[in-house]
């Protein structure tokens, strides 16, 4: 399936992390593409951008943000959007993504991906803001399903319904994080496949996989360690619904060597094409 936005299949990529900068610049490993955390390259004029420029010369780049705060009731931060757009143009990023969440109100930034209530009011609010961001960027925004640890009593729909309606009504793209689906399914007791069944896969332009931490009573989306097989299998299931969608591994804590991280990402090949 080709996504409706015509965005390319970049293959299997890695989240770009500072501990790997030198290896990538010096060894020039064969990697399909890198995803950057956009916010790490804003408000800097120095070394992070120097490394990024070197890497962007050689590899396709996609931007993944954590501070857009698309669900916040604070006004959209136009300065942030301007910086985001400038960075996208600088590194020729194929697309820009962020999360279905909010990060703060009253000008504070908690730097956490806080959960949205799934209500009609919240949906209308986010749809309007996604449209405004897309107008500003002049390109589709991809929103990622978050991992969440609470559900609100006032919710009038489930997350998958909210996400599907948001994508249709705002005409935006989706970044499907299958680890987040797995985490939230465990935390809230829903069926991950039911979640996938409800998504408009023609709007999915990218998939994420990652490790997590199981506390027994709940799972935390820690991005630590290898991806467990049930998450790989969920990726296989999702990818079968949208073949040709690029896949990316996020590994953000206790990050191993570049080779080991890349080897883990390439495990996706074992699961792509698997049927439910």
């Amino acid at each position: 399936m080709k996504n409706r936005f015509g965005l390319p299949n970049l293959g299997i990529g890695l989240g770009l992390r500072t501990v790997h900068y030198s290896h990538i610049v010096e060894q020039k490993p064969a990697v399909d593409w890198f995803e950057i955390i956009s916010d790490n390259y804003l408000h800097t004029a120095g070394r992070p951008l120097d490394f990024l420029d070197l890497i962007a010369e050689r590899y396709p780049i996609v931007m993944h943000g954590v501070s857009l705060s698309i669900g916040s009731t604070d006004p959209l931060d136009r300065d942030y959007l301007r910086e985001l757009r400038a960075l996208r143009d600088r590194v020729r990023a194929h697309w820009v993504s962020d999360h279905l969440c909010w990060t703060g109100v009253s000008s504070k930034n908690t730097h956490d991906l806080l959960p949205m209530p799934y209500t009609e009011e919240a949906l209308a609010h986010v749809v309007a803001r996604v449209r405004a961001v897309q107008d500003f960027l002049g390109a589709p925004l991809a929103l990622e399903n978050p991992s969440t640890y609470v559900e609100f009593a006032g919710d009038s729909m489930r997350e998958w319904e909210f996400l599907g309606r948001l994508a249709e009504e705002a005409d935006c793209a989706l970044l499907l994080d299958v680890n987040n689906v797995y985490v939230s399914a465990r935390n809230h007791g829903f069926d991950a496949l039911r979640y996938l069944d409800a998504l408009p896969f023609d709007r999915v332009v990218q998939m994420h996989v990652a490790g997590h931490t199981d506390h027994g009573t709940h799972i935390v989306d820690s991005h630590i360690g290898p991806v467990i097989d049930p998450v790989w299998k969920l990726l296989g299931n999702a990818h079968a619904r949208a073949p040709g969608i690029p896949i990316l591994l996020e590994w953000d804590a206790e990050i191993p060597s570049f080779e080991e991280t890349h080897h883990e990402a390439l495990r996706a090949r074992e699961f792509i094409g698997a049927t439910p």
Binding site: T18, T73, A153, T217, E250
Partner: protein, 308 residues
């Protein structure tokens, strides 16, 4: 006069879409009372303000949520109460920002000890919450903050924090070319008095009450240094290409480099340093100044030259 490289990983914290793993050593969080909203008041803005208040309230203080009232707003899971579910976010908020401060201030953390540093960080986060989409400058108040805190040696902690923050700033400062001796050699002899040097944009000259740079270097050398006695020192922190450097300076060097950094001509800069060389034979003084000048240039403190 030692020029020391600083480990490359310093000050390059990641800001990822991950939630920190929470350890179980936390004391139980304190809770207050959930707002008793009537339906028309419970809009998205009110709900987010309330949620943020819970998340950002230190665990030692009561957050606006209690189990009974909370059930009207948040559902429990099979395994966790509604309050326990909220606490995942509450702990994550502090854990994430403490991680950021640890990344910026690893030597300060070593000097204070992990527990004291975490306590300091919690107080810092409460006093200076982030209002920026980026965490790159979140730790900028730490040196001043240390001076106000009941630490064993607040002055030393502040000086150490100041050096570590200068390292972070140097990483984010614009990258510039390094002035070379070949460029200097092109200056005609008669124009030397009017030559001005462009300072490396990352250059920061710190004046400290404690030898914090020596402590930092000992830590880098895998030693376990003790908190030093007070001793006035000056250190230049700057970056050339991908590498950060620290260069300890004597008082006349500080005068010379600060004059050049301010845009003074070489002649003016030498005049400023002259009083500090009183009593030194002229030929020796000239030799010393030329040595400092060459050291500053060869170390990468300057990125170019122009004429006044």
């Amino acid at each position: 006069m030692k020029r020391e490289a600083t480990a490359d990983a310093i000050g390059t914290h990641e800001r990822a879409s991950a939630t920190p793993v929470h350890t179980d050593h936390h004391a139980p969080s304190r809770h207050g009372v959930t707002p008793n909203w009537v339906p028309r008041e419970l809009n998205l803005a009110a709900q987010q303000a309330w949620f943020e208040a819970i998340v950002t309230t230190p665990e030692s203080e009561p957050a606006p949520a209690d189990e009974a009232g909370l059930l009207r707003l948040v559902t429990p899971s099979k395994e966790l109460t509604a309050l326990e579910r909220l606490d995942v976010y509450r702990r994550g908020y502090y854990a994430r920002l403490v991680e950021c401060l640890v990344d910026d201030y690893p030597v300060l953390q070593h000097a204070l000890g992990e527990e004291a540093f975490e306590e300091l960080s919690h107080a810092y986060i409460a006093e200076h919450p982030s209002k920026s989409p980026s965490l790159n400058y979140f730790g900028r108040h730490m040196a001043d903050f240390c001076r106000t805190q009941p630490l064993p040696s607040p002055g030393f902690a502040a000086d150490l924090a100041a050096i570590e923050w200068a390292i972070v700033l140097s990483i984010h400062a614009p990258t510039a070319p390094t002035l070379t001796s070949e460029e200097l050699a092109t200056v005609p002899g008669e124009r030397w008095p009017s030559v001005c040097l462009k300072a490396n944009p990352s250059l920061c000259i710190l004046h400290q009450e404690y030898p914090a740079n020596a402590y930092l270097q000992a830590f880098r050398n895998d030693a376990d240094p003790s908190v030093p006695e007070a001793k006035r020192t000056s250190v230049a922190v700057y970056r050339t290409q991908m590498r950060v450097w620290r260069l300890e300076l004597t008082p006349p060097m500080v005068t010379l480099f600060e004059a050049l950094k301010s845009g003074a001509t070489l002649a003016e800069s030498l005049n400023r340093v002259a009083p500090e060389l009183e009593g030194t034979p002229e030929a020796e003084a000239v030799q010393m100044v030329m040595h400092w000048f060459r050291t500053g240039v060869s170390s990468g403190l300057f990125s170019g030259l122009y004429f006044a």
